[in-house]
Symmetry: C5
């Protein structure tokens, strides 16, 4: 499977309102959790039949449906019916490979974004598509699998003094998206620490293993960027959306999100440049080390060349070579050789070739 | 023929409304297929004479003319007459090398886009210009050759429960363009799989053949990008078009198209970066392998240099060389040589030159 | 003379309405050709005195003045007077080094663009500044030298059935600019063929001569881009111009021009990337060939090093070397040498160093 | 800790109005300084209890609260109460890692920017988050630690002839931001001097230590850019802000700020290019030096090769080698050797290989 | 002093209306020249006291004050008083390091731009800050030193037939800025000639000195770009300025300026690419020359290696080596050696390694 786009031949030509699950099935059963609250009351239930949700539809209190698992076509159909959503909205939700986007429908806003999380056990980054459908009093969030990532929001809702208890669905949506983007920043800063720790090793003792590490980090960062950059566009569009479902007071929060996602994107850009600089430093260091080795070896050979030549001269079998008969010749040859060798070494030293 | 632009000298200076076929003739005969439907009835016929089409012109039901083959000037003239289209519209349709574009004429919208398909037999990507002319109740699609790529749409039309049966020509146009863009994504994801499969081979055992593969993939990707990127601009223009022929309800679908084409372009950008990274990794690996070889060979030579020098010393013919007469000299020489060689090897090992 | 900008010191500080010819004088005599037509009549004359033109000024029919040669200050002055043009307009026309631009004056529109043509004899690209001054019923085109590049338009005007005969000066301007841009595309596609033909040679047998060819093509392409890119901006400005001299019906044609020039610019961008890729492939191939040579030669030397060492051992003059006296020693030495050499070659072969 | 983003896991999911200090605690105690002035009077006091500030709230004179230290949650709460600020405003102020931004609240404007300063002792750049909250008659500035960077502004306020005494809080804000941006420019110009001083050393005698210096400067510059570039966006947004708290006369000053921050960003871009050019020059020089060394050594070896070969020839033990018996052979051999060596050296000299 | 930004510590925190000279003092005395003209009269005087200027303030004729030298605070104060200019305007004028900008004040427009000139004696480019303050009937130009660069404008003013005599201060400002930008283009074209002349040398015989030349040209071009690029922004802003001081008829001239500055910027971009290509060509040529040398030397050594080996074989002292006793062995050895050498040379030739 290609990592950056996935499209199989039989997916071509489907109607936009066909409820067809595109993605991997990540949980067995669809799970529905309902939180209903206003400034006075709070209720948290787990429901089993999608049809039970109807009673919440017309209640003026804020109702948050959290649905884990998207592959069940029938459940989806029921949800669409219960909330009178166009089938296009849910078809979008079920396409987990789609690009983050905002759609302003007549009776709802639909938002989708990639949720990134580090799995603490494997240190791998998992991707999940989060879709949010927003009406005046109901927010439905669709996740691909069970997750406790939104627990801090649930805690805040339980505390009746918190702003979230007095605000509408738009503020709730902000709170959820804020957690998603905070996770982006957390992951980038985690990756950033790894990248910065490479730096020290790089200057001490660069080896092949550092290179592999840099290439791996680069691939991970590219993967992050591929998921985060389209979200920037989406968040910006959301902050500019003029919809009846978003109060003016919430605008300031969505602007905050824009600032955060921009910070995430800028940081990932910075780390990308740092990685590219590290690669350059690696190659420079490696090649400069190799050059030192080759220079040393070459100088070594070069010193022996004239010595071997001298020995060669007196290995000739000419009948008349005056030096051969002189008694101290052999020792003189050694002296000359040592002088030549030391002279060359000094010369190379002065020239800074050694 | 140049791959990216084609213009021969005699094409310069033609009038914009001259019906002149620019392109390769890809089918022998022009073929006309008519599908006429509304929510109640469905009719599919193949007509032979272009004049027969007139009767569909004023019918309120949605009529889809599919014309395969563009080279027949007379047929084109008849179509223009039958639908009261300006000759400029059809001249555009016949220029199969033109850039994807949208034109908002007085009595129609004209859209053109490159249709890319993988030929399963040869694994080659074929390009074809698709033009769509849209009026209130008629959609005419022009293809360069026979094709069954739009069959899923035909199927959906036959099923009277589908949204397409209740919608107008704008929705039909969306459905056709959706298939074209889905094909883009499919081709990119197909190419992407090839690119990602190179990666593994690259780390195992890079050879010249991998390099050729990367260069080929790069060329293919450039070819894709050259065809897809201008379409992005066109689709964006289409989604912003304010025309009587496009209903407000269809806007959401055209926005969907924008998202899809953006995803296609972004994926192709990602794969381009990946290819460029792969090229870098290839060169790094190759050059580091070469360096290892050269280092090994140099060290090998360097070890023999002092040994050969020692042998040379005792090959001199000086009359008085004390060592020569000592009985065990020869064996001592061997010992010295072995010690020197082992010493050097240990030194190089410690310096990590081996 | 610098190729990309030309400004001599004494040109600094001239008034904008000073009729000063900046450029090379490319023809001896100024030539005036007049074509006057409407849907009913057609007239083509060559006039000698610029003053004769006055009679066409007030005629409602479309009048096209084609002026070849710009260096004659007096003729220019007369033209300005005859058509009541501001001297700034003509000063602009005479500055053949200026950047392509559109100016919307009170009583006319002035357009200038670089006209590129391949000289068939020398295969060189010639540049010429084309200026067009447009009023309601008169179009004046200024060329630097005689040329028959607009002949297809003249032919179309002669044919009374053509749209051009029924249209105004704006359509005529479109037709002229269309030819200029078609020539851009033709030149790019011509260059593109050369670039693509390099590719094949590049893979077969890259030599220094290919490198020179690539560098030459690169320079030619840069030259093209330098001339074409500013035209893109100009054509876009023209298509957005809201002027009384341009009818709404002509807008569609100017949009066509925008599409064409965009295609030209994109193609030149593509070819630029291709050239840059080719350079990379060239360097990679050359360096990989060199590496192969060096590796071969090094391996060759390395094989002889131990052999020479063995010979050296038995060239020593020690009194007691047991092997020397054994009868078959010499042949054993040869055997050992051959075994060592073959062993090394096999080792290198297995290591893929050969 | 990662240098470019910092986010710990427990920070995810906090409410936007929770007063939670994100950053390092840089001073022990929170310090409050109040300056209250109008064109007639001036008063400077240090207050100890945050509740004392209430009396300044309704005074029409300009009041500037300078608060050093942000970690005290209770003090912050009191400030929020005293000035009737939304808790979101102060929660923002306490998030010292946030991106520079402007927020236009109902009853105030909030601005935050990174304040960079060179510590003279260590020559290190310190970063501090400066937040400014602006109402009609009150400006509150929040700094992370005590600082005298705004002393010039205090001096100007004391002088009753200065414009600042006659202007409102908007002018005061301008004056503070102006100092921040002047510090940017000062730091860049300081870094710039270091960068330019490298250049001279680079051409004289490039060594490893220069490379480290360039890499260090590059890292410092990246750090600067990461802090300054987002400020550019913020200042631009501020200059375009249409708020009741900013007088029209102050617009010209904010435009000045835009010019200054643009200059800072452009200069940092220029220095970035210079650093990258310096890296290139370094590598070119180093590699050209190495090449000279290798060329010299290779030529040296090559000269001895034929000489050693000649000596080898006459070291053979053939019974019949005519030259061996001739008396002057040995001297002739020397002569030949010297001639060969000189000939080769001359040849290499002429070929410019030496 | 840093070349691209200059800011000393004590400049931080100055008030925007403080008349503080930032820059180098380039002339000793401030000089004032006044030209006063309308279509009927012309007057040119040199005045000594700044107070004399008051009489021109209310005259309806166009008055051009040219002030050379900006360091005299008192003179500046007087000018501000005489023309009732805000002190901010003059403080801006005195900051010669500021970025080119336009400010639209209530009673004047202020424009500043860098004036570049080639000093003919030293061939160095000098930079000077030109500020222009424009009111309805008065234009004040501030230069850092005496200069005759505006003499062509003075000449045109003297000639009463010229447009400038009939136009207002806005046209005068255009004329001055036009000269500044013409100087940009002149300098770029001068630099361009140098750059293009390098090209020829580059292909003939690249040496270290060419490299230094390219690096110097690169630095000069960067310096130019740093000064010209911000001017582009300024000129664009000026052309879009909607001010009472600029007549509609002058708009066309300011648009002309936009075209010229765009041409300057584009040309500098082109030359930048050319320089970067030249650097590449240089490195390619140098490295390909080095490779040729190394290849030659390596082949040379390799040819001798088997010959020396053969000689070594017959230098061994084995008692029984059959070849040694054969009479023609020595000559056969020579023959074999020559055959081997020629064989190898032919092989290398065929392989194109020589």
């Amino acid at each position: 499977m290609a990592r950056f786009t996935r499209k199989s031949k039989d997916e071509i030509g489907r109607a936009p309102d066909e409820l067809f699950f595109r993605g991997e099935k990540k949980v067995e059963n669809v799970r529905l959790r309902v939180i209903d609250f206003d400034s006075n009351q709070f209720e948290e239930v787990r429901i089993l039949k999608t049809k039970e949700v109807i009673k919440y539809r017309e209640k003026p209190s804020v109702t948050w449906f959290n649905i884990d698992g998207l592959h069940n076509q029938e459940a989806m159909q029921n949800i669409a019916l219960s909330f009178q959503l166009d089938k296009i909205v849910l078809a979008d939700v079920m396409d987990t490979y789609a690009r983050p986007k905002v759609h302003d429908y007549d009776n709802c806003i639909s938002v989708s974004i990639k949720m990134l999380q580090i799995d603490d056990a494997t240190d791998m980054i998992s991707v999940e598509n989060l879709s949010i459908v927003l009406t005046k009093s109901v927010l439905i969030s669709f996740q691909e699998r069970d997750g406790d990532v939104f627990d801090p929001v649930r805690e805040r809702i339980k505390n009746e003094k918190r702003r979230i208890r007095k605000s509408g669905t738009d503020y709730l949506m902000y709170a959820l998206l804020d957690i998603v983007i905070d996770n982006y920043i957390y992951i980038i800063s985690d990756l950033g620490e790894k990248i910065e720790s490479v730096e020290e090793k790089l200057l001490d003792n660069p080896d092949k293993c550092i290179l592999d590490q840099i290439n791996t980090l680069k691939k991970e960062l590219n993967f992050l960027r591929k998921n985060i950059n389209p979200a920037q566009e989406m968040i910006l569009a959301l902050s500019k959306l003029d919809s009846e479902f978003i109060n003016d007071e919430s605008q300031v929060h969505f602007k905050e999100l824009v600032g955060n996602i921009n910070q995430a994107v800028e940081s990932s850009d910075s780390y990308r440049e740092i990685l590219s600089d590290q690669l350059n430093i690696y190659h420079t260091t490696i090649s400069s080390k190799l050059n030192d080795v080759m220079k040393f070896l070459t100088v070594f050979s070069v010193v022996f060349i004239p010595l071997t030549f001298i020995a060669g001269i007196y290995g000739t079998n000419f009948e008349y070579v005056p030096e051969l008969t002189y008694k101290y010749s052999y020792f003189i040859m050694w002296t000359v050789m040592i002088v030549v060798a030391i002279g060359m070494l000094l010369y190379f030293k002065r020239k800074k070739w050694l």
